[in-house]
Amino acid sequence: MLERSYLKSQMRNTGLKNQSTLRPKNALTRKGLMFTLTLTSLIDAFTIIVIYLLVNFGNPNQNTKLNGSIELPQAVKNDDVGEGTVVSIKNGRYFFETKEVTLAEITRDLVEVIQKKSGDQNLLIEADKSTDYQALSPIILAGSQAGFHQFKFAVLQAGGTR
């Protein structure tokens, strides 16, 4: 019964015994130095890496595309970015989503967004940490006039790097 066991045959044909150069257990090893590469452990490691990366893939709601030269301020306590209309300030210039606009156009565009989409809308503001509030305030005013009442300032998690 034991002689016909599948496990027994596996033990007999193990790759380590075959690779032994001193006392090879199998006649096949005498043919050459060709060895059996055990890929199982490698695949295990790969699977663990894939699962880890999938778990840490990031928040699918995070559709923020940062402008290259914007250095966001840091904050310890912050919330998820979520979805919303993005307005960014870069070197004193205003961008609605990715399009450069003037202040008057921002108000008009934000009103259009409010009219097109129903429900509560968020306004996500991206600005460099060195920006003065003088440049930031018109966006808050424009958003308030358009009907936004939830503003989100994009920040980096404190301790993170960019």
Binding site: L42, L53, F57, S130, Q134, H149, A154, V155, T161
Partner: protein
């Protein structure tokens, strides 16, 4: 007729792992290239639009924080009974670089929050020259203290 040796040979099948290996490599490459390394968060600010009337409602305790250009921070507690020194605190900034002394501000806010645990509303009153980083920093302190409704005053 099948012998015992032949049966054993059939059971020792070989699983071709190379395609699995290829797929996993592709998955790892894709995930590494598309993973988000920068964790962006947001500081939520609720702005009142004036749609709701306040007639007949009791005013909740609130704190107003004025950020002055010289690094001075003035904390004004509204609708709550606190000691005089806590009611309106003028906190001077660093004289050398005119920046805000965040340790002092944080300690004072902690003391105010301990005195008024029901404090849930804060309003930041920056000037035109106030830095965005300073505004976010004071909002961050408010949020860390559990003050959830943080607003900002436009110029």
């Amino acid at each position: 007729m099948m012998t015992a040796k032949q049966t054993k040979k059939d059971l020792n099948f070989e699983l071709n792992l190379l395609p699995v290996f290829d797929i996993l490599s592709c998955c790892i490459c894709f995930l590494l290239m598309t993973v988000v390394w920068i964790q962006i968060g947001s500081m939520n600010v609720n702005q009142a639009l004036g749609a709701k009337g306040q007639a007949g409602t009791e005013n909740a305790p609130a704190i107003w924080a004025y950020l002055n250009p010289s690094g001075q921070v003035v904390l004004d507690v509204k609708n709550a009974k606190v000691a005089n020194w806590m009611g309106e605190s003028v906190l001077q900034g660093n004289s050398s670089d005119k920046s805000i002394s965040w340790n002092i501000v944080s300690q004072r806010l902690q003391a105010i929050h301990n005195a008024v645990p029901s404090l849930k509303t804060a309003l930041v009153m920056p000037t035109g020259k106030s830095g965005y980083q300073d505004i976010v920093h004071i909002m961050d302190i408010f949020k860390q203290l559990g003050i959830s409704d943080v607003g900002i005053s436009p110029l």
